[in-house]
């Protein structure tokens, strides 16, 4: 199932604090080379956001790291305990919430651990609910609980906030940050939302034409506010890398996408939040929306 994963860490040249090491990862679908040699090291506990346009191959990297892509070429080193949260919650509709969380979990205390995980995502008392009765945000929190109950060393998030409404997304951002501080896995967040990446991640990567074209460590001290000039500079830099003209007049003519650059970049930017203290929604004046 897992691709080219060495059984142990004895391999030469892998840093001892690395959670993920990717060397020269390549992947083609037919004649299309989606990944053309990706090199990537993620340290333990690091929160990395991976940005890219639609079809840039960011989800392909995530699938490879999840061990779900037998067609990936290259060297991949990942921890044994990995968990994935997808854009859709992907709950089994025929199982109640608790068995969904503990799916595949072994051991006598599985149910107890599942209950704890549900409590962490704020869904205590929903153990016996059917997934069909949950709202989109609740279902996604169950999916998060299902991932965290495994105590993953690597948490792979594949646009997990993409299908949520703006207000739910703000809550989920804060929840994910809090849970990551609690469980401290290494995180790879795949997203096309620049603001989300800057708000959540310690480090942002941009994937362009099958390679990592930009690798930024985010060093904004304290709470990340969108009104912070540093935030604005970072986001301009990232948007430029993604081929978006910040004046909002649409795309710089990109070689493969003549149309607008993934409209969701613009809309998503509205919905990201600041992570300072208690949740608050900022008045529009404080938001810098590139439209």
């Amino acid at each position: 199932m897992t691709t080219a994963v060495a059984p142990e860490r004895a391999t030469v040249g892998i840093p001892s604090d690395a959670a993920v090491v990717v060397r020269d990862l390549r992947r083609s679908f037919g004649h299309r080379d989606v990944l053309r040699g990706v090199d990537l090291t993620i340290r333990g506990r690091q929160f990395v956001a991976l940005l890219g346009r639609s079809g840039s191959g960011k989800s392909t990297i995530l699938r490879a790291l999840a061990g779900l892509d037998p067609g990936a070429v290259g060297e991949l080193y990942v921890p044994a305990r990995r968990a994935v949260v997808y854009q859709d919650p992907r709950l089994l509709p025929w199982a109640k919430v608790l068995p969904n969380v503990t799916l595949g979990l072994e051991g006598r205390d599985a149910a107890g651990r599942g209950r704890t995980a549900l409590e962490e995502v704020g869904l205590r008392g929903h153990e016996d609910d059917w997934p069909k009765t949950l709202s989109g945000g609740e279902a996604q929190r169950v999916a998060l609980a299902r991932a965290l109950v495994r105590e993953p060393e690597l948490l792979l998030l594949d646009e997990p906030f993409g299908a949520l409404d703006a207000l739910t997304r703000i809550r989920m951002h804060a929840l994910v940050v809090r849970l990551c501080q609690l469980h401290h896995p290494a995180v790879l967040l795949v997203t096309h939302d620049v603001d989300e990446a800057v708000l959540l991640a310690d480090r942002v990567l941009v994937l362009t034409e099958g390679r990592v074209s930009l690798d930024l460590t985010i060093e904004i001290e304290g709470p990340r506010l969108r009104s912070d000039p540093a935030f604005g500079r970072l986001r301009s830099r990232l948007l430029a890398e993604l081929g978006v003209d910040e004046a909002g007049e649409g795309a710089r003519s990109a070689p493969d996408t003549p149309a607008a650059p993934d409209a969701s970049d613009a809309t998503d930017a509205r919905t990201a939040d600041d992570l300072a203290g208690p949740l608050q929604i900022h008045p529009p004046s404080e938001q810098e929306i590139p439209t």
């Binding site: 779900l68 089994l92 509709p93 799916l103």
Partner: protein, 298 residues
């Protein structure tokens, strides 16, 4: 210069005209439609609700009433078709002397064993064929070919192999119910959303857990559709098997009644089939209501 003037000349007249039209429209008196709303506190009904409970039997009652009247008026001769009241008294008589209960018991046993053996075999074959390519190659072709052989046509072979006893009848029912079970369960397994398989990989479900937690529950709706069809097939084959060679059962009773021109007994037996068929359908519906309560829209 000239060019820009020309352009302006083209553009300008349209703009104010459009604006005027918009203003006219916005000032025009509107007719508003009042939408139907519920009275506060009144129960809301959404969409079409099918008739439930005893009200579904109104049509049946009407038909029986017309039949009775037609018999009373002499439009239907008793030797062709007995009146409902005659049928009822015949039924009571047949129950009292034990003929009907004996026949029912014999028939029910055949259907029960046919289903009890055929349904698990059909489901097991579907799982085997649905989950492995080898299984599909070995099983699916055979089933698809056999499916087009009329089961009733196999009766002669069964009698040849198994004689005229219970085994032949049960075997025929068994074989008949396997097909709807197999076909529906197989289709359900094959149409399981592959993203569940990926989820199973991610959470590390082993083969058996995968079958139990994902494949079987996902295939359950299809299986239950198959079960409903299988029940209908079972009753159909039962009548046939019992009318060809049997010394007990409802079909046998019908053949006997035919010999002695007792249309009332025939109608009693047919009514029994109808009620039994209805009961099995209600049984599967109940099963669906319990087992599929997780489905959205239930």
């Amino acid at each position: 210069m000239t060019i820009s003037l020309t352009r302006a000349a083209v553009v300008e007249p349209t703009a104010p005209e459009g604006a005027v039209r918009a203003a006219e429209l916005s000032d025009a008196p509107r007719t508003l439609v009042r939408l139907p709303t519920a009275r506060s506190g009144a129960p809301t009904r959404r969409g079409f609700r099918g008739a439930t409970g005893p009200s579904r039997l109104i049509g049946v009652g009407l038909l029986v009433a017309i039949w009775e009247v037609a018999a009373l008026l002499g439009w239907i001769q008793p030797q062709d078709l007995a009146a409902p009241t005659a049928v009822l008294s015949t039924g009571a008589h047949l129950i009292a002397n034990g003929t009907l209960p004996d026949a029912l018991w014999a028939s029910l046993q055949r259907v029960f064993w046919g289903l009890a053996i055929g349904v698990p075999i059909g489901a097991a074959l579907a799982v085997a064929a649905g989950l492995s390519r080898t299984g599909e190659r070995l099983i699916d072709g055979n089933v698809q070919v056999l499916r087009f052989v009329p089961i009733i046509g196999l009766e002669s072979l069964f009698v040849l192999w198994l004689g005229v006893g219970e085994t032949a009848k049960i075997s025929m029912i068994m074989l008949g119910v396997m097909f709807p079970i197999y076909i529906n369960t197989f289709a359900a397994i094959r149409s399981i959303d592959p993203s569940y398989g990926e989820l199973a990989d991610v959470v590390g479900l082993r083969r058996l857990a995968r079958l139990r937690r994902i494949v079987l529950p996902a295939a359950l709706p299809g299986f239950l559709v198959g079960l409903r069809l299988a029940m209908a097939v079972a009753w159909l084959l039962l009548v046939f098997a019992e009318q060809i060679n049997a010394s007990s059962g409802l079909g046998y009773l019908i053949v006997q009644a035919q010999t002695y021109f007792q249309s009332n007994v025939i109608v009693v037996c047919l009514a029994c089939y109808a009620v039994l068929g209805l009961l099995t359908d209600v049984f599967v519906r109940g099963l669906e209501a319990v087992l599929l309560r997780w489905q959205p829209g239930r």
